[in-house]
């Protein structure tokens, strides 16, 4: 059951909310919480009942380990943590990577090992990592007592169960313990508005451009050479599709949780406006970035620092440091973290390329920040030039990496990238040749070839790209627009502090959401558009992680 489906919007959600509010009012928050757990299990089981026992076993196992760890001496906690991580990661590896591993062995060794295709349980990557974070923090002594039902809801709360945001126990379990789960008008108003905006972004914008972009990736997958104009449309178009799809999903999740009186963390903060790849990752899938930073990057970096110190290598990176320090303390942990990020995103070489490309981008960006003052000391002039240049570079860099993310193989991804580089020439629909022959002659002289390609398809594709780029680059995001009503736990910068809104700040400062008639009509229009777009129901791109 998808958030963007009739059964969710017209049956599951109203029933779940109504029963929760009624139970909270007449039987207390405990009963409402148990109801939400049951509803979340039903939500999960509606996808595939077969994997419900796995989810329940994972929750019970991790809860038991957590309970034992809470009362165990520190040394024993370490062993218990290791045991839990091995079991959790082992399960994840089995379901997510067995087929990939066998395929890789077969390709490399020429063997013919066979294992039946293993279906990936929905949301396993998310609930596995959320539980590991809790255990890691218990091991560090950062967690106090908690109840099974708070823990259970923390893991399976349906708004974030399948595709995040990746929540942290510190921000969720206290909320679950405190929440009344009763109906309030402010929560309903804010939640419904967030859900409407998210639904519009997913069902209208993301699915709209998806129809235009998908055929290009199918064609690339058939190894038909992708020509320049179409390859760029494929790359930029999918980057926009991905952004509106996933940020739309995240805002729907925020809205759903808010209707129940729970706030989730912000997951997107207008990443397309980023003028560097570091800034991009601070704004894109924010909850994954903070998870990777806290639980992967920092431990790796700390261990490298300790390792260097143990050898007496005390100079750090930067103009006064050493290249070795820069490589080992910045490049190594960055590339390793993004490699793991790629692997987490999917079992396929194309995901590794996606991760490694981002590792390379981030390393270059970090080095630029470190060494740029040596050859470009004027920060003001640097910012003036590099902000617009960086915006373009970041968009293209992210689009290139996402091309591999969406391609069915590295070869298909290479096909599109080669097209972007012009290695497969330039092709245009032949109707241009038949209708604008003079222009076509000029273009032909420039090496353009004319093929029986439909012109309206090309115009639709670039039309979508133009509209979505404008929406992604110009206005503030919905969390900024609703800033005064705290739609999320972590929040973006308000208008007056977000330099990216500077060109039109005076105008945007007049656009604040409030419970007024114009905003209610706007939200209703967005909801209506979202509902009308549901007939082309498509899964969220982050559904299978």
């Amino acid at each position: 059951m998808l958030f963007n489906s009739y059964e969710f919007i017209f049956a599951f959600l109203p029933l779940t909310l109504a029963a929760c509010y009624a139970l909270a009012r007449f039987a207390g928050p405990g009963a409402a919480q148990l109801w939400l757990i049951a509803a979340s299990l039903y939500f999960y089981a509606s996808w595939n009942l077969r994997y419900l026992p796995l989810l329940l076993a994972s929750i019970l196992f991790n809860y038991l380990i957590a309970r034992i760890m809470l009362h165990a001496p520190p040394r024993r906690r370490g062993w218990l943590l290791a045991l839990a991580v091995v079991v959790d990661i082992g399960l994840l590896a089995y379901y997510k990577y067995t087929n990939y591993f066998i395929d890789t062995v077969n390709v490399l060794s020429g063997a013919h090992l066979f294992v039946a295709a293993i279906l990936l349980p929905l949301g396993i990557s998310f609930y596995t990592f959320q539980q590991i974070t809790l255990l890691v923090d218990i091991s560090g002594g950062d967690v106090e007592e908690f109840r099974l039902r708070d823990f259970g809801l923390f893991v399976i709360f349906f708004p974030h169960l399948i595709a995040g945001p990746i929540v942290h126990h510190r921000e969720m379990m206290p909320q679950f313990a405190r929440a009344t789960y009763r109906f309030t008008w402010p929560n309903m108003a804010v939640g419904a508005t967030l859900f409407a905006v998210g639904l519009f972004k997913k069902a209208v914008l993301a699915d709209g451009i998806a129809n235009a972009v998908l055929p290009l990736y199918v064609d690339a997958g058939l190894h038909h050479p992708q020509t320049l104009i179409y390859a760029w449309a494929a790359a930029i178009g999918f980057a926009l599709q991905m952004y509106f799809d996933f940020s739309g999903y995240s805002e729907m999740a925020l809205g759903l949780a808010r209707m129940l009186g729970i706030k989730l963390p912000m997951n997107f903060n207008s990443p397309m406006k980023a003028s560097s790849i570091i800034e991009y990752w601070a704004c894109w899938h924010i909850t994954l970035t903070r998870f990777l930073t806290a639980y992967v990057y920092n431990p790796i970096a700390m261990n490298i620092v300790r390792w260097r110190h143990a050898r007496g290598w005390k100079r750090g990176p930067g103009p006064r440091g050493t290249v070795g320090a820069a490589v080992s303390m910045i490049a190594a942990p960055t590339v390793m973290t993004m490699f793991l990020s790629g692997l987490w995103h999917g079992a396929g070489n194309q995901y590794l390329v996606f991760g490694l490309l981002h590792g390379a981008y981030l390393t270059i960006n970090h080095f630029w920040r470190l060494y740029r003052p040596c050859f470009w000391p004027d920060t003001a002039s640097h910012d003036r030039v590099m902000r617009p240049v960086g915006l373009g570079l970041t968009l293209v860099g992210a689009a290139v990496a996402l091309t591999y993310f969406h391609a069915d193989s590295v070869r298909s991804g290479n096909n599109i990238i080669a097209g972007m580089l012009g290695l497969h020439g330039v092709a245009l629909p032949d109707v241009i040749d038949s209708r604008l022959h003079g222009l076509a002659v000029l273009l032909a002289h420039a090496g353009v070839v004319f093929r029986p390609l439909p012109l309206p398809t090309l115009l639709t594709l670039y039309g979508w790209i133009a509209v979505l780029l404008a929406v992604a680059l110009i206005p503030p995001n919905i969390l900024q627009i609703m800033y005064a009503y705290e739609p999320a736990i972590t929040m973006p910068l308000p208008y007056d502090k977000d330099r990216r809104l500077a060109p039109l700040r005076t105008f945007w400062q007049r656009i604040h959401w409030r419970p007024s008639t114009p905003w209610a009509i706007t939200a209703a229009a967005l909801s209506a558009c979202g509902i009308l777009a549901l007939n082309q129901v498509t899964a969220f791109l982050y559904w299978q992680f």
């Binding site: 009739y6 008008w185 402010p186 419904a192 109707v431 939200a523 009308l532």
Partner: protein, 423 residues
């Protein structure tokens, strides 16, 4: 006793709650109104003819969107049509056979065109099963051609072709003839799509704005696609462009098929058998192709395969209906109707009279074919009634016509050869 007014400190919170309540009320009310209005409009216009709302001349009678969704529209239209004659086939039959053609005798009317654009023989069989479960036609006309019988590897099929079987939930019966348990769900999904979707809203507006538009393509109440898009393409781009584009699209299909050379003719025999069991007479129409298509077949060395396909069709039909009640008409030979010269590149003045491009023929030619099948003796040089016994003679006549045409048209032969050699 009246409740006490709230404490002054609680008033801002109460005001905020009130404004939020008002906001939610306006939001929900506006949403219901918007959705209600859109559903009402879509029901009234019924852009895909799924609901069966009466057509209002000049307002909703002509349905351009229905032509884009034949698998949806025809599944429901045929249930309301109660046809005496049912036409089965692919896009050529969809565009070429007008159920309101004057060639249909009164005894054959009403005629419903159930041909499915892009359909394979298996698709046509399923739609015939569906139709016969809800209607009782006295005549079934099945249009067949060589191209649609070719079985291609699945990865070479277009996405549209691969989605051939998406229609299953809207079939009244399953392939084994038993009631389809998914029908109610499929019908509900189609109703939701036809009333509560952006696509339907846009198509309703389009329907209202494009009545009697010469640039639009319409599906009539009898299931005929009037070929409006071909009119438009021919006018804007010229017939040469239309023909050459189709030729280029056909070449990879032939080349791919040449590797396997598997044809499917079983479904045609099954359709004949099914129609006969339901008491309907059957007419098989072997569709005509323009000489561009036939010359490609010849130059690619597929002549013998074409003959074998035709032989298999005749044998399959004869075996499926041993008690008679079937007629086979072959319009696939060389005749003045299939050998028109294509106007030159950039020529937007001259037009082909009988074909749109090498595969799709115009409704005027369809009318001649219907007339011949209904017993007209003219035009005598177009169409042959096939029997198992006469088949060798017919095949020989086809090849004699082919040899004569090739000898008389070296420039056309060279043009096709160049096209086949192009990268």
């Amino acid at each position: 006793m009246d409740s006490l007014p709230p404490e002054p400190a609680a008033r801002p919170a109460l005001q905020a709650a009130n404004s939020m309540a008002r906001y939610v009320g306006i939001w929900a009310g506006t949403l219901v109104l918007m959705i209600g209005a859109i559903v009402a409009l879509n029901v009234a216009v019924d852009p895909y003819a799924v609901i069966g709302t009466p057509r209002i001349p000049g307002l909703t009678a002509q349905k351009p969107a229905a032509a884009d969704w034949p698998r949806v529209t025809k599944a429901y239209m045929v249930q309301r049509a109660h046809p005496t004659t049912l036409i089965i086939g692919n896009s050529s039959a969809d565009v070429g056979f007008n159920p309101e053609s004057p060639a249909w005798p009164q005894s054959a009317r009403p005629v419903f065109n159930l041909a499915i654009d892009g359909g394979l023989p298996a698709t046509h069989l399923r739609y015939l099963q569906h139709a016969l479960s809800v209607t009782h036609p006295a005549h079934v006309m099945i249009a067949v051609n060589f191209l649609e019988s070719m079985v291609l590897p699945s990865h070479q099929l277009s996405a549209a072709t691969q989605s051939q079987f998406d229609f299953e939930p809207r079939m009244k019966v399953r392939a084994d003839g038993s009631p389809n348990p998914d029908y109610a769900r499929g019908h509900f999904a189609d109703l939701v799509f036809a009333t509560l979707s952006f696509t339907a809203l846009s198509d309703s507006i389009n329907t209202l704005m494009h009545q009697n538009d010469p640039n639009a393509t319409y599906e009539t109440a009898f299931g005929w696609n009037d070929g409006g898009k071909f009119h438009r393409w021919a006018r804007d781009d010229g017939f040469d462009n239309l023909v050459m584009n189709k030729d280029r699209a056909q070449i990879p299909v032939f080349l791919n098929w040449r590797q396997s050379k598997i044809v499917q003719t079983d479904e045609v025999a099954q359709m004949v058998s099914l129609a006969r069991r339901h008491g309907a007479d059957v007419t098989i129409m072997i569709l005509p192709n323009h000489f561009h298509e036939m010359e490609m077949v010849r130059q690619l060395g597929l002549d013998a395969d074409y003959d074998a396909w035709k032989t298999a069709i005749v044998k399959g039909v004869t075996d499926a209906a041993p008690d008679g009640g079937t007629t086979i008409w072959d319009f696939g030979g060389y005749s003045p109707y299939t050998t028109e010269t294509v106007p030159g590149p950039g020529d937007h003045t001259h037009r082909l009279r009988w074909f749109w491009e090498p595969v799709h023929f115009q409704a005027d030619l369809g009318t001649l074919m219907i007339a011949r099948a209904q017993g007209a003796t003219e035009p005598a040089d177009f169409g042959v009634r096939l029997t198992a016994a006469g088949l060798p003679r017919d095949i020989a006549a086809f090849h004699a016509g082919e040899v004569a045409w090739v000898a008389a048209h070296p420039a056309e032969v060279a043009r096709i050869a160049a096209l086949l050699k192009a990268p």
